[in-house]
């Protein structure tokens, strides 16, 4: 339960990031009219909304005029961390202070703002990658488990082959070939290399279920194969799969951070915890304060997912890998 709470907190942070860390104020009164740029931006950054709504024009002005306009406004409530994560400054490598709560990095960017926005990047990659992996894995695993025969033999061999490759070796070998890495591409990459445990598990569950009374009854009623698999068997097979997916999200976040650390993940100015770790590593001798924020963030995220996953696992199958009790 604590895990779910932490995850909820992270999600809230990710969604509310324009209100938490941005140059845009939450509320201001500019030229006699009330504006809510922070809130508008929050809605605009929700998934898919930006395609509908169009580019950002806070206060109805082009973005480079905004700071001046805000300076002229009255009744300004600024964002909690009034810095943009991409904004350079000359205040380079400063430790934590009253104006920059977690300090600044090597380009003068505020670390706290980057941490907040990095939450969204990491979570997006984590969920996206696992979504892809889950779809591929469940489909292949269900087909292999239910149909059996040569389909099963082929898919099982494929799974076995993929399981032999160490994660990062495969991901790196693929990452090189992406011309312009973007957040989406990284998620797809991690998803494409992470589906095998899910497939194997789904296959096992399907094998267990296909000879059960449930399958027999469905067959007797004349259901088509596809209907049997998807409507009847899969929902019963999903319990351990959901556990694996939960742990997989944490794993995907870590892989993304690792890739970003190596320089093959999220592209340069975008804040990601892995990129922040890299800055910290590069400047460890002069700016050790950079190390802790992303480390704590990653630790908390993994801890939360482990909690949730363990709780789910205990609910689904208490004997599987018993908790420490």
């Amino acid at each position: 339960m604590a895990g779910a709470g932490v995850l909820l907190f992270l999600l809230v942070v990710a969604f509310l990031r324009p209100v938490l860390a941005s140059r845009l104020p939450v509320v201001c009164r500019y030229q006699g009219r009330w504006h809510f740029p922070g809130l508008v931006e929050t809605i605009r950054t929700l998934p898919l909304v930006s395609y509908v709504v169009g580019p950002s024009r806070p206060l109805g002005l082009p973005s480079f005029d905004v700071r001046a306009a805000v300076a002229e406004s009255s009744s300004v409530i600024p964002a909690l961390i009034p810095y943009d994560p991409l904004e350079y400054s000359s205040d380079v490598l400063r430790p934590a202070s009253r104006s920059h709560w977690l300090g600044t990095d090597e380009l003068g960017r505020d670390v706290a703002a980057r941490l907040v926005h990095g939450t969204a990047v990491s979570l997006r990659v984590g969920f996206g990658a696992m979504g892809i992996a889950a779809i591929i894995g469940v489909l292949l695993g269900a087909c292999a488990g239910y149909v059996g025969g040569w389909v099963d033999a082929v898919i099982s061999r494929v799974i076995e082959v993929f399981l032999c490759f160490p994660t990062f070796f495969l991901v790196l070998a693929l990452a090189v070939w992406i011309e312009e890495p973007g957040v989406g591409q990284v998620a797809i990459l991690i998803g494409l290399t992470g589906w095998t445990p899910i497939a194997r598990l789904t296959r096992g569950e399907m094998i267990r279920l296909r000879d059960s009374g449930l399958a027999l009854a469905s067959r007797a009623m004349g259901a088509t194969r596809r209907r049997i698999i998807f409507r009847h068997l899969l929902p019963n097979a999903m319990a351990p799969v959901i556990v694996t997916i939960t742990f997989g999200i944490a794993h995907a976040v870590l892989v993304e951070a690792g890739l970003s650390w190596l320089g093959f993940g999220v592209p340069a100015p975008n804040p990601s915890w892995g990129v922040m770790l890299r800055s910290a590593y590069d400047h460890m001798l002069t700016a050790p304060h950079l190390v802790y924020p992303p480390c704590v963030a990653l630790f908390v995220t993994v801890l939360a997912y482990n909690w949730i996953g363990d709780a789910l696992r205990d609910a689904a199958d208490p004997r599987a890998n018993p908790a420490w009790a």
Binding site: R157, V158, E160, V161, F162, L163, C164, F165, P166, T167, F168, F169, L170, L172, A173, L174, A175, V176, W177, E179, E180, L254, A257, G258, W261, L262, G263, F264, L277, A280, Y281, M284, L285, P288, V291, Y292, P294, C295, L298, F299, V302, L303, N306, N321, P322, W324
Partner: protein, 325 residues
């Protein structure tokens, strides 16, 4: 036993072929090809058509894909991994000089983790619910949630930079060659310490939990009651009767850890400047050194396959029931 071994070996061969196929396909799917390697990411082709044609012929790129694959496979069978694009040295040499280093890391981590996790698991199970048990549970859970490279960063920052207790980069210090034999060993060990700790601690967390759970399950069985009924001391009951039955699942689990050990090595070896396979993989990826990348991928995947095979054989040797499946 021989029949079982033969069966497992026979099953491994298509997997091995699959590994080579996937590796080859991944490289071939890349946009661009080795002849353009010098142009970098998405660079425009500045080679003249004649030069490009000559390069393509030299790399054998003008032959159909399946012929390239067969040719590469044939070379692999004769242990010819080609020459590196980066420095022209045979890839096999580059791999061979780094393989022992990474294996040392993996082996050391496994050995160390077992020496810690078995006693911890034993003690926790023996005094279940006691102070040690609960404390170990919490500490190990927290440790398990810390990602390896996060721990590495923190350790480098604290132990290496701020406190200066241990060296944190490379495998040797300057002036290594001048040290006497004992000094050399000591120096290597000191460099080895931090990276091995980073590899080991999640293994300990995972294995200790495993050992504890298995031990508790075994201790609830009848033959333990018999042993106690015979009047044996508790210590003898645990070590001579319960432990051997716990070790078998532990062996299985060990083999499954190999991919994560080798995969995690990329980031950690790069962070610590440890001259192993992971560091080579990362460097080769950066340099678009295709022969090295392919050779490394095949070698590591094959190693993992070998590890799984050995684990299966060990399992079959220990538990005769497996052989008849």
């Amino acid at each position: 036993m021989i029949r079982y071994a033969a069966r497992r070996l026979a099953l491994a061969i298509p997997t091995l072929l699959g590994i080579t196929l996937v590796t080859f396909a991944v490289i071939r799917l890349a946009p661009g090809d080795p002849a353009m390697a010098g142009e970098g990411r998405g660079g425009t082709l500045t080679l003249s058509p004649e030069t490009y044609a000559r390069l393509s012929a030299a790399y054998g790129l003008d032959r159909p894909a399946w012929r390239q694959y067969v040719a590469w496979l044939w070379d692999l069978l004769r242990m010819d991994f080609g020459r590196s694009f980066h420095d022209g040295r045979p890839v096999a040499d580059k791999i061979a000089e780094r393989l022992p280093v990474t294996l040392l890391l993996a082996g050391g981590a496994t050995f160390l983790s077992l020496s810690f996790s078995i006693p911890i698991g034993l003690l926790s199970a023996a005094r279940r619910g006691g102070v040690f048990d609960r404390l170990a549970g919490i500490v190990l859970y927290a440790l398990y949630s810390v990602p390896r490279y996060v721990m590495a960063m923190v350790l480098i920052c604290l132990v290496g930079v701020e406190w200066g207790w241990l060296p944190f980069y490379g495998s040797t210090s300057e002036g290594f060659a001048d040290l006497p034999w004992l000094g050399k060993t000591g120096d290597l060990l000191r460099h080895f310490t931090l990276i091995v700790v980073c590899f080991t601690y999640p293994l300990v967390a995972y294995q200790a939990r495993f050992v504890r759970a298995n031990l508790l399950e075994v201790m609830g069985q009848d033959f333990i009651r018999t042993a106690r009924g015979k009047g044996l001391r508790e210590w003898t009951v645990i070590t001579r009767h319960a432990m051997p039955n716990t070790l078998i699942p532990l062996i299985t689990m060990l083999g499954l850890l190999l991919p994560s050990l080798l995969g995690g090595s990329v980031i950690l070896e790069t962070m610590f400047g440890w001259p192993g396979l992971g560091q080579l993989m990362f460097a080769a990826t950066l340099q678009r050194d295709y022969p090295t990348v392919m050779g490394l991928t095949v070698v590591t995947a094959s190693l993992v396959l070998l590890g799984t095979l050995l684990t299966d054989l060990a399992y079959a040797a220990a538990d005769p029931r497996v052989r008849y499946e």
